[in-house]
């Protein structure tokens, strides 16, 4: 194995040990390492953005316009340059407000895509899934075949899914009725569903936490595997 590779492995192992040591408490070396990490990742990200987006989308077209065969029409190039300059005005406090139209375009486009995406990609399919929650084909087959327990299970699981979805939504239902001078209040049905929904939300959060635990455990397995194999390599063990 090449010496520089060994150095790289040892460096990676030392940094891994330092990073893992935060489980047992913080120390100055850990902070130095974290600042090193932030610096490296920020520098790398900046270079990637320049190389993969800024150069091909803005700089190369300008150079092509000036010195070679134009790749973008002049109007398009002008708008890109103008937007870039407006946004760069945000760098300086005195000109920061000039950048508002550029950020406004970003916000407006993002909002439009969020609206369309949420409607097409999430709400419609999820509502349809809630509507079609009973597996009708399986239910029919089970009833025809005399598998009544399985049929009950299909119905029960469908009801459970509907109840979980509806009660969770009820938890986030903020509509309320005003009665005279009193504060607006939710109806008893919505309030009861919301109470039930809070338990379903706790279950969903537990499932999410469970996922994060498994992800962290897998990362721990990979890191410890790396550390033990590096140690074996350094000690010349098979």
């Amino acid at each position: 194995m090449a010496p520089d590779l060994n150095f790289g492995l040892v460096l990676a192992a030392v940094l891994s040990l330092l990073a893992l040591s935060y489980v047992f408490g913080e120390h100055p070396l850990l902070r130095v390492m974290l600042y090193l990490f932030i610096g490296v990742s920020a520098g790398y990200a900046a270079a990637v953005v320049v190389q993969d987006v800024l150069l091909p989308q803005l700089v190369f077209p300008v150079l092509d316009e000036l010195f070679g065969t134009p790749t973008l029409d002049l109007g398009e190039l002008g708008i890109r340059m103008a937007l870039a300059l407006l946004l760069l005005a945000k760098l300086f406090p005195k000109t920061a407000r000039l950048g508002n139209p550029a950020t406004a375009l970003l916000a407006g486009v993002g909002a439009a895509l969020a609206v369309a995406g949420a409607a097409q990609g999430t709400i419609l399919p999820q509502v349809a899934a809630t509507r079609n929650i009973f597996d009708v084909t399986t239910l029919q087959l089970a009833l025809q075949g005399g598998y009544y327990l399985d049929a009950i299970e299909v119905i029960f699981s469908g009801l459970l899914l509907v109840l979980a979805s509806v009660s969770t939504l009820a938890y986030f239902h903020f509509g309320a009725t005003s009665r005279g001078k009193q504060e607006p209040q939710r109806s008893l049905l919505v309030d009861s569903l919301a109470w039930l929904g809070s338990f379903f939300i706790a279950i969903a959060l537990a499932a999410l936490f469970h996922g994060v635990l498994l992800a962290a455990l897998a990362a721990l397995v990979e890191r410890l595997d790396f550390l033990q194999s590096t140690l074996r390599l350094l000690l010349g063990m098979p």
């Binding site: 990200a45 953005v49 995406g117 990609g121 996922g211 992800a215 397995v221 990979e222 790396f226």
Partner: protein
């Protein structure tokens, strides 16, 4: 503020009494700044001063109460009045504003506006009642913490009443021209309050997605202690709820600082639990890795039909089919996702698919290169470089939407300014749907959700994903949606193990599986015994002396 017949002094806590005594002492020692000599002032200024003196009828903002007015609090209660922001008093005093106190070290200076502009924008009624209230010197040694910033102090509603939508004081109304006055329908106005619900103090929320909607729960019910919005005229452009959040943050910081200033040792049991738990977890993972144990049983694909779907879809791909692999992976999840990615990409390469890599994360392209080199470097297509890495694509949802309809417009050049669209993998691609398969490799469910929302609806072949285990609960809803937005999913180490088993392979997933299994066992033990210990410690913990006093735990 009604106290009934109780003396408010009786209810004050000890620390506030001490603070009050100290302030009285200080007030005795140092007189407040002397008022300007009336003789030195011009007549017109004296007249204005006289006119706006507290108690003067014309400038009285509210009806004078029978007891002590809010403008002139009784001496006993004077120092319980809110400390008022000096910056609001006069524009010339703040012509060169001091640096605002921030509750935390801001990475970016908060946007400020010139004071005169702020004062100009502020309603006169909002400033008027406080013009001549003396500043109360804070006690220096009352708390070791920095003084609460003025913009947080202002949240007290007694200090800053809501500015009414219009003035009800007839004296405040500007005089009308005669012709307009003659048009006024004298007796036709209804006598009840004609303001709409939106104008009343308890009207609809003014912030958040529900702003402006009537018949909704008050915001205080939704997010804890968000009060009704109050008009401010401070220099900082912060809203009412931001102010409240800042107050909560300040409180949190104070509690943290108090904790560090008065270090309360964690109970020995807790520290021991932490140490033993961590060591047990590390040992449980390390032992199978060192011994190379491969005894734990692998799950089969009946438990994960979504894994089988992705396997089946790849298995029927024709040789040379273009496959887009979106490497939206964070380095933190690289170790976890690598077994699944190497299993699935290995399968794709076996089927001689043409891989086109792309990423919406800056580190994605580098991770893709590393993974291919580290785990699939021996595959002919990788060793000969017969794949295309298009690099990073910024813009999130905008980039994906653009990529869906016009991929040639958003990816202009490949490595070294080459034209990627002339390569064999991309020659036939005009739209994203022209790819035989689109595989998203992501750390979290949200990245896949954005793909589904922006691109998924345009793709007849659907989307497939390889993710960290943490994405599974969210993505399961898309697997079960109608029609399924996500056709197949391999997540975490268990997904990798199932995929390897489907392929009859022993890969990285199998190598990790025993350590993973032992780690799971250790986690269960630590949580079980830790919870039991915590419950036991809680029941045997001595009750605090006063109700509401913070517990040591």
């Amino acid at each position: 503020m009604s106290h009934g017949h109780h003396d408010p002094e009786e209810n004050l806590p000890d620390w506030l009494r001490a603070l009050r005594r100290q302030q009285e002492e200080q007030a005795g020692q140092s007189q407040p700044a002397a008022a300007p000599d009336p003789a030195e002032e011009p007549d017109w200024l004296q007249e204005i001063r006289q006119r706006y003196r507290p108690g003067a009828t014309k400038a009285e903002p509210q009806e004078p109460a029978a007891g002590p007015s809010e403008e002139e609090p009784a001496p006993a209660l004077q120092d319980t009045q809110p400390q008022l922001p000096l910056r609001l008093e006069l524009a010339e005093e703040v012509a060169e504003p001091p640096e605002p106190w921030l509750p935390f070290e801001a990475e970016e200076p908060l946007e400020t506006e010139p004071v005169d502009e702020a004062l100009e924008l502020a309603e006169p009624q909002a400033r008027q009642p406080y013009g001549d209230i003396q500043e109360v010197e804070p006690a220096e040694d009352s708390l070791d913490l920095p003084a609460t910033p003025t913009f947080i102090d202002e949240s007290d509603e007694t200090a800053f009443p809501s500015t009414p939508a219009f003035s009800e004081d007839p004296d405040d109304l500007p005089s009308e021209p005669g012709w307009l006055e003659s048009l006024r329908p004298i007796e036709d106005f209804p006598h009840e309050d004609a303001r709409s619900a939106a104008m009343l103090p308890e009207g609809p929320p003014q912030e958040g997605p529900l702003a402006g909607l009537s018949d909704v729960l008050p915001t205080s019910h939704l997010v804890g202690q968000i009060g009704k919005s109050v008009e401010y005229s401070t220099r900082l452009q912060v809203t009412g709820s931001q102010r409240q959040h800042a107050a909560v943050l300040q409180e949190l910081l104070q509690s943290e600082e108090q904790r560090s200033a008065d270090p309360v040792e964690r109970p020995l049991g807790n520290r021991l639990l932490g140490l033993l738990g961590s060591l047990l977890l590390i040992a449980a993972v390390l032992v199978p890795l060192v011994t190379g144990s491969q005894s734990a049983g692998r799950p089969d694909s009946t438990q994960a039909p979504e894994v089988r779907n992705i396997f089946n879809s790849i298995d029927v791909l024709p040789a040379g089919a273009p496959v887009l692999v979106a490497f939206d992976l964070q380095p933190a999840q690289y170790g976890e996702v690598a077994p699944a990615v190497s299993a699935v990409l290995g399968h794709l390469l076996d089927k001689q698919a043409r891989l086109v890599l792309l990423s919406t994360q800056e580190s994605g392209p580098a991770l893709a290169e590393r993974l291919l080199a580290e785990h699939l470097g021996n595959t002919p297509l990788v060793s000969t470089g017969s794949y295309l890495n298009l690099g990073y694509l910024s813009g999130g949802s905008a980039a994906l939407r653009s990529l869906t309809s016009d991929p040639r417009g958003v990816v202009l050049s490949g490595p070294g300014r080459s034209d990627p669209w002339q390569t064999p993998a991309l020659q036939s691609i005009q739209h994203l749907r022209d790819f035989a398969m689109i595989l998203v490799i992501a750390s979290d469910g949200d990245s896949v959700r954005v793909w589904i929302e922006q691109a998924g609806t345009q793709l007849p072949a659907g989307l497939y994903a390889i993710t960290s285990a943490q994405a599974q609960p969210l993505l399961r809803t898309y697997l079960q949606s109608s029609p399924p937005s996500l056709r197949g999913l391999v997540s975490g180490v268990s997904g990798a193990v199932i995929y390897e088993r489907l392929r009859g392979d022993v890969g990285l997933g199998r190598h990790y599986w025993d350590a993973y299994s032992y780690g799971l066992g250790a986690m269960v033990l630590v949580i079980l015994f830790g919870s039991l210990y915590s419950r036991l410690a809680q029941t045997t913990e001595p009750k605090p002396a006063k109700p509401g006093a913070p517990s040591g735990a």
